[in-house]
Structures are given as C-alpha cells and as structure tokens.
C-alpha cells in the first residue's frame, strides 16, 4: 500500500515535470509510463502528455491516469482521462494521453482519431509529432505498413525526435 503510494508520488513528480512546463526533452520524455509487457512486444507507443501547460484542475487527473495505466489498469486510466477531457476539452495533451491509453487498450481506431483531434488543437510541433508516431504505431498494428511509414515520416518532418 505504502509502496504503491510511493510509486504514485514518484510518477506524479515525473509527470508534473513533463507536463506543467515545457514539452519533455527531445529524447525519451516518457510521461505516461511504459505499457504493460503485452504491448511492449509490439511497437513502442510514443510518450504522451507534455507540450502544453496543463490547467491545474486536470494536472492531478493526468497523474492519476498515468499511475493507473502504469499499474495496467487502462480502463480506469481512460475513465480519469475522459474526466480530464470534460474539464479541459481544448487541451491537446489531455486528448493525446487518452489516445495513448486507447492504444494500450488495443483500440487503435480510436487512438488514431483521438491523436488527430489532439493535433488539431495545438501548434506544438513536438506534440503533433508524438501524435503522428502514435498513428504510425497503430497503422503498423493494423497491418497498414504504407500508412505507417507515411505517418512516421510526418512525425520526422515535425522533428519531434524519437
């Protein structure tokens, strides 16, 4: 119990660092922790979050979602992120987080839609690049290799780094 609380606190700290200020550094700015092993065998999803200052009201929710997702409870993570979407529907980072969780829930069609929607809400190229990488991963999973490499090159053009 206390170990779990510690973990949550640690994740929260990482997440706040990632989200509340500048976008995570060009490299491996993971703000939603790595997916459970099942997904790891497939393409690595791009990190979510960051890119846009999160309003204080949803900061805690995004952190909560991150730890739920890290604990493998993506249903709960999605619940919490939907709540965040209701509170901050114009925030591209929130939509992106939801897209990542949908990906982890094996709901690639929705992940793609949500990633597109996230990109429409921002001018942040890095965040857009992350969305394209997520789309690329989804297309790969759907067997659309051509679409995947197109999305990957869109991501590269935006220069988000990988």
């Amino acid at each position: 119990m206390s170990a779990r609380a510690l973990l949550a606190a640690a994740l929260l700290a990482v997440l706040l660092a990632a989200c509340s200020t500048a976008p995570p550094g060009g490299g491996t700015g993971e703000s939603v922790p790595a997916p459970p092993p099942k997904e790891q065998r497939r393409a690595q999803p791009p990190p979510a979050g960051g890119g846009q200052t999160l309003p204080p009201a949803v900061r805690g929710l995004v952190a909560k979602a991150a730890s739920a997702s890290a604990a493998g409870d993506n249903d709960r993570a999605a619940d919490v992120l939907e709540r965040a979407v209701r509170l901050a529907p114009d925030n591209a980072a929130v939509w992106q987080n939801l897209a990542v969780v949908r990906y982890r829930q094996d709901r690639c069609d929705q992940a793609i839609q949500l990633a597109r929607r996230s990109s429409e809400l921002t001018d942040d190229r890095r965040l857009m690049a992350r969305n394209w990488r997520l789309i690329a991963a989804c297309r790969r999973m759907n067997g659309d290799t051509e679409g995947a490499s197109e999305a990957a090159s869109r991501a590269r053009e935006l220069g988000g780094g990988q």
Binding site: A57, R76, D79, R86, Q110, L121
Partner: protein, 774 residues
C-alpha cells in the same frame, strides 16, 4: 316369468331404491365428491396461492432497483458557474442549507460564498471521503476554491444527485436497505408495536386473531386486526385494502406459506422495504428508507429516535396518521409508540422523554418525486435496455452514472415553461442539450410540462426537419472546393422537379419572393428554398443523402428531391445527433446518457466510452460553420441576439415545415449544443416559424446557461478572401459591398470583379492581413 317377476321385483325394489337407497347413495357420493373436490380445490387453491405469494415475494426480494445518478459537479477555479446554479446543483443533490455545515450533506451560504460538507461517495474511478470546502463565485465563475484549512484546491467533485431508480414493472419506487443497515431502534419499535411475537409465530398468531375477533364481535364491526407482520407483508405485496373474511383467510394461508419458505430475517427485511407508508400523488411510498426521504428529506440511517417512532406510528394508517395533514393525530400516535418502546425496554426512559419533546420534524413539502427527470430517465432506460435485460436491471441493484447536468436541465425546463406559456395550450415543445466535446446528453425536456412523465417528444416525436436539413446540402457543396465556395452565386429562379409520385413540384421561398442570384452563404443564412433545391439537384441527391448520413442522420429507403427541403422525419434527439457532428467540427460523436454502470459492491460492469470519428473533413466543416454563424448574425436566426446580444458567439439553423406545423431550432456554442422543437401532438398548425417558436426557447435557454463562445480554430488550408457578392468573383477590401469570406486555399475564384482589377497586389495583401485581424 321368473324373469318378469324378478324384473318386477327388481323394478319394485328399484323404485324404492330410487326413492330411498339411491338418493342416499348419490348424496353420499356427491358429498364424497364434494369433499374430494374441496380437498383438491383447496390443495389447488393453496398451490396457486403458494405460486403467487412466492413469485411476488421473490420479485420484491431480489428486486433491488438500480440507483441512477446525475453527473457529479466538478468545481475548479475559473469554472463557468454562478452562485444560483450552484445552489440548484446542491438542492438537486439533496444538500440541506444550514447555519453551520457540521454534517455531510449540508451547506451554508453567505452571499456568493458557500461552505459545503460533502458526503463520502464511491465514484466509478475511486472513493471520495467526506470533506468540507469553501467556494466563492464571482462574475459567473468559480473565483476561489479552498479546503477547510484555507488551502487552495485544484479540483473538487461533489457527490452526484440521485435522480431516480430503474425499477421496471412497478410505478412505486423503493429505497431498499439491508436489515443490517436499518437502525436497530427502529426495528425494535416496529416489532414492539406491530408484532411482539414475530420471532415465535408461524405466520399467523391464533391468539391475536382470537383476541381481535372478540373485540370485533363486541364492537359489531372490524376494529382490531390480529395481523402479524407476515400477514401485513402479504397484504402489502398484493396492495389490497379489502377487508373481507375470504381475503383474510387467503392472507393467513399465504403468510404461513411465506414462513414455510423463508426465514424470519428475510421476511422482516422485505417487510421493512415493502410496507406502505404514504402517498405522493400517484406515487406510493413503500419502505422505511424511501419514507425517511419522503418525510424527513434524509436517509434512514440519519433519523433520530423521535423520527423513527413517527415512521413506526404511520404503519397503522399512513393517511390517517399523515404527519403533514394531521400533525396532532400523528404526534399522539408517535408518543404512544415512544411509550411502548420505553415500557418494553427498547429505548431508555431519558431518551424517550427527550424525543417526546421534539417536534415532528417533517419537511413541509415532500421532496420532488424520485423521477423529477422523467424524459431523461426514459433515455437512460432505453440506452441501458440495449445492453441489459430487464431482469438484470431489476435484480442487481446496479449504480448507474449518467450525464444529466441538473442545473442545465433546470434551465432547459424553465425556458420551455416560460416560452410555451405565451402560446396556445396545445402547443408542445421538446428540448435536448448536449455537451459538444463528449456527446453527453446534459438535459432532456419531453414536453411543456417537464415533470409530467407522459409522451416524451424529445425521443418519440419524429417530425419533418424542414430547413434543418440544409446544412447537409451546403456542406456537400463546400466539400467540392473546385466548384463551390461560400461566395459562389446560386440562381434563385423557379425550378420544377419530379416528386415522389411522378407529380411535378415547384418549391417556393418561404417569403414567396425571388432574390435573384444569391451567394451560397446568404442562401443558407436566409434559408432560401429555391437556391437550395437548385444546388442540391446539381450536387445530386445521392451525394446530399450521403452527407446527411455521415453527419449521423438516418435515411429513408428512397430519397426524393423533397429531401432537400427536409422531408425527412427525425426526433429532436436524432437532430441533436446530426448537429453534434457539425458542432464538433466534423467528428461524429454518438450521444450518450450513461457513463458507467457499477455493481452495488463497486465493480465497474460496463463503460460507455467517448468515441469520436471524423466523418467530414475540417476545411469544409469550418466553412459551413462560418456560414451558420451568419445565420444568427444576419439570417433567419438573428432573433437570438435579442437574448444573447450582438455577436452572440453561436451558430445555428432554423427550421419550419409546411403550414407552420413544426418549428425547429438547432444551435451551438463552442461547448454546448441545443435542439428545440415546437409543434402540436396532432400535427396541427401552430402559427409559429422556426424563428418565432423554437428559436425563442433555444435563446432563452442559452441566455440562462454559461457557454463558451464559438470561435473555431482556423485549420490549415483556409484563407480569407474578399468576394463581390453579386458576381461571386474575387474582390478587394475597397470594393463596395465586398464581403470577406474564408476559402479553401487555392480554391478562390479565378475571375476578378471589375473593381478589383484596378487594385494592385500590395493592396490585396493589405486587405488579406486586415481580414486576419478582423
């Protein structure tokens, strides 16, 4: 001979036998048959009673209704909400206003500052404990949000209003509780007063019956009942007040059968949840849990000794001892119950003495009926019935978390009530309000009397949508940027088409006038019929139908040109589904009334997640939305400015059908979509257009709601150009009457209007810049 003799004798004997022997035999046989029949009938009757009572009991026993909750209110600094709306949300969630909010479920208010003591609540995404907070409103927003110690809070969620129970098959609803959750003193008082030998008897108490019979014979009428709790329960299960001997006998048999089948605890628990304790209009109040809410406005766990005694007092005759109508009588009986409790040692004498001094403590008016939101509950039931069998909804005591926003619902009801007041009695109305980004249904009004659970027009009145279909026509055009832009000129000259039955049809403009050549945006803004039909026929009916279907509209099997003017029937909810796609900027987002269903022990049973799918590309949708903003700025929808002011930050469309039978308005801000229908149930004329009818309800509603002005992000691939409205050609800022319109990049007209040919490139660039700033 002998034979004759015998025969004679036989006959003689026979005659005698018929006179004596056979009659007796027949009688005997008949009697035997009667006895057998009686035994068989008795057994059969008993069997039948057994079936009935067991079925009915099981039905109640396992029929924990599903609790239905509104969406929980989220508070955070900057949230658009005013103090009045907040007070309304608190009232809907059954919060009591007090001086000092010491107990959960209470609040105090000082002007625009509230101190709220939240109840503990288990949300689908986690448990929230009870907590005290202080919130201040200013300028229609949450200005400050602090905890009890004065520390700033980022986010606070109120426990949601309970808006109803799903309990199909019964009019009455319940608030069932487990025996272990019932206050012990209440149960003790009940047994002391109603059935002291409950734990010993076998369903009936012959001694009690005998005592009652003696009393009744002495009085010459029925003055006393010897009923055990089990017998009373049977009576309650079948809801009959008939007091015949036959009825009593049946009840007695069924009571014994119940005792045969079930243990005392089960019977007692069912009794406590089932006993009739009052009437609220056509709603019967059953069970102590619901009665506590009904009389005291609080859950049974929070009642004190005096209140419990009053509830027990009412068992004897809820209308005779109705504490609202007959407070004196009720008080006398309550005190009697208290005395019995003291005598029997169920409560200590001091507590009883104190309780006797207390007033009845009954709320003056009953809280609003459990289903204060019949139209919305109807939608919830239908949504759930897609995934759950009726029995499951009955049986599992589910917790259903919905999307209803009580303060939005209130605003919608008030708008409908206030506006319909001015119209004839048979003019009806319906309204649906949806959160744009999520597709969550925030409010449903099913008629001009929103609390009346009758015909739900929002869900069931499918009516021709008239001009509400036009955005689908214009969107189809705007999806072909090479051919059409907002400034493209359409001819407003009569057109004749083949109708459904081979007859010709010549649509006319609503104002019966011809407007010459009109730009596309103006034809939509002013809802001209003739240019719309021309445009639609050029585009092709199939293309328009396809667009309508991508927006989420259903299509008839065969489409005729009359579709272009809205000869397709939708309910207000279906219209909301179509306009939701427009409001989101091209994402089809299925409307939802339910977020989550949980079991009583806290597991999430099903989720109804947000799903979005882009079905219309951004650029054409942006252009359409800009044209729809013109509808309310200068077109048929400009009336909303009387409520919302100039530059109202909304977009919408009016709709009127033939002979003024249906009046529609569908409109949206950045965050809310509202659809209103006004018309008559018999499809008669109302004398109202979209603009004089439904629009006024919609505008009244949006004027009462906080909403975020519509200011869509301009997508890549759009540029602002000056257009000469007469020719649809490229103009410049200094051209007289030139209008600035967004165009898909690269799709602006090639030809220049006369005035623009003089202009140089620098000037054009300047105008373009000005347009951006505009």
């Amino acid at each position: 001979m002998a034979a004759r003799k015998r025969s004679k004798g036989g006959r003689g004997n026979g005659r005698r036998g018929r006179q004596r022997g056979p009659v007796a035999r027949l009688l005997r046989r008949g009697l035997l048959l009667a006895v057998v029949l009686a035994v068989v009938a008795g057994a059969g009757w008993t069997w039948w009673l057994n079936q009935r009572v067991v079925a009915e009991f099981e039905n109640r026993q396992w029929a924990l209704p599903a609790d239905v909750y509104a969406r929980p209110l989220e508070l955070y600094q900057g949230r658009a909400l005013d103090a009045e709306a907040f007070a309304r949300e608190l009232a809907a969630a059954d919060y009591q206003r007090v001086r000092e909010p010491k107990t959960p479920g209470s609040y105090s208010r000082n002007g625009a500052t509230f101190e709220v003591h939240r109840r503990a609540f288990r949300f689908p995404d986690g448990r929230a404990g009870e907590r005290r907070i202080r919130v201040t409103f200013d300028g229609g927003r949450v200005a400050r949000l602090r905890d009890a110690d004065g520390n700033a809070l980022d986010l606070f969620r109120l426990d949601p209003a309970r808006i109803g129970s799903v309990y199909p098959g019964q009019r009455a609803d319940r608030e069932p509780m487990a025996l272990s959750d019932m206050p012990r003193s209440l149960v003790a008082a009940l047994l002391a007063v109603e059935d002291r030998r409950f734990t010993e008897h076998f369903g009936i108490s012959p001694l009690a019956i005998l005592r009652a019979a003696v009393a009744n014979i002495r009085a010459g009428e029925i003055v006393q009942g010897g009923s055990t709790l089990t017998q009373q329960l049977v009576k309650n299960l079948f809801l009959s007040n008939e007091r015949t001997l036959w009825r009593k006998a049946n009840e007695a048999v069924m009571a014994m059968l119940l005792e045969w089948h079930y243990d005392k605890r089960t019977i007692l628990e069912t009794y406590l949840n089932e006993v009739y304790l009052g009437q609220d209009g056509d709603r019967a109040i059953h069970g102590f849990g619901l009665a506590s809410r009904f009389y005291f406005g609080k859950p049974l766990e929070r009642t004190d000794l005096a209140e419990q005694a009053l509830l027990v007092a009412m068992v004897k005759g809820p209308s005779w001892y109705d504490p609202r109508r007959h407070p004196e009588r009720a008080r006398k009986r309550r005190d009697l119950v208290l005395d019995v409790m003291a005598e029997g040692g169920f409560a200590d004498a001091d507590a009883v003495a104190r309780a006797r001094k207390q007033p009845l403590g009954v709320h003056e008016s009953p809280p609003e009926a459990r289903t204060a939101y019949p139209a919305f509950m109807d939608l919830v039931r239908r949504d759930l019935s897609r995934d759950y069998r009726r029995e499951d909804l009955n049986s599992d005591g589910l917790r259903i978390f919905t999307t209803l926003a009580p303060s939005v619902q209130y605003a919608a009801e008030q708008a409908v009530i206030r506006r319909t007041r001015d119209w004839k009695d048979d003019t009806q109305a319906a309204a649906v309000v949806v959160g744009v980004d999520t597709g969550e249904v925030e409010a449903v009004v099913g008629g001009r009397d929103p609390r009346f659970p009758g015909f739900n027009r929002a869900l069931d009145a499918a009516r021709p949508i008239g001009s509400l279909v036009k955005p689908a026509v214009y969107l189809t055009a705007l999806e072909r940027p090479g051919q059409y832009g907002l400034g493209s000129v359409i001819r407003d000259r009569p057109v004749t088409v083949q109708g459904a039955d081979g007859q010709t049809w010549t649509p006319r403009n609503y104002d019966r006038e011809r407007h010459g050549d009109v730009p596309l945006w103006a034809a939509l803004a002013h809802s001209y019929n003739v240019p719309t039909v021309r445009l639609g026929l050029n585009l092709g009916l199939r293309a328009v139908a396809d667009t309508l279907s991508r927006l989420g509209g259903s299509l008839p099997d065969t489409v005729y040109p009359s579709l272009l003017l809205g000869a397709v029937s939708y309910t207000p909810l279906e219209v909301a589904g179509v306009y939701e796609t427009i409001a989101t900027g091209g994402y089809e987002t299925p409307l939802r009334a339910v977020r989550t269903v949980m079991t009583r022990d806290g597991a999430v049973l099903s989720r109804y997640p947000l799903t979005v799918e882009r079905t219309v590309e951004r650029v054409p949708m942006y252009l359409l939305r800009r044209a729809m903003q013109r509808v309310v700025r200068e077109g048929t929808g400009r009336g909303v400015q009387r409520w919302l002011g100039a530059g109202p930050g909304v977009a919408g469309k009016t709709g009127t059908t033939d002979d003024l039978r249906d009046s529609w308005f569908a409109g949206f801000s950045a965050d809310r979509l509202g659809v209103v229908w006004v018309g008559r149930d018999d499809n008669g004329r109302t004398g109202l257009t979209g603009a004089t009818g439904a629009l006024t309800v919609w505008a009244e509603l949006f004027a009462a709601l906080p909403y975020k002005p519509l200011n869509p992000r301009m997508p890549d691939g759009i540029e602002q150009v000056w257009i000469d409205p007469d020719t649809g050609r490229l103009a410049s800022a200094d051209c007289p009457d030139a209008v600035q319109l967004p165009y898909a990049r690269g799709a602006e007209p090639d030809e220049r209007a006369a005035c623009a040919r003089r202009g140089d490139a620098v000037q054009r660039a300047g105008a373009w810049l000005r347009g951006l700033v505009d």
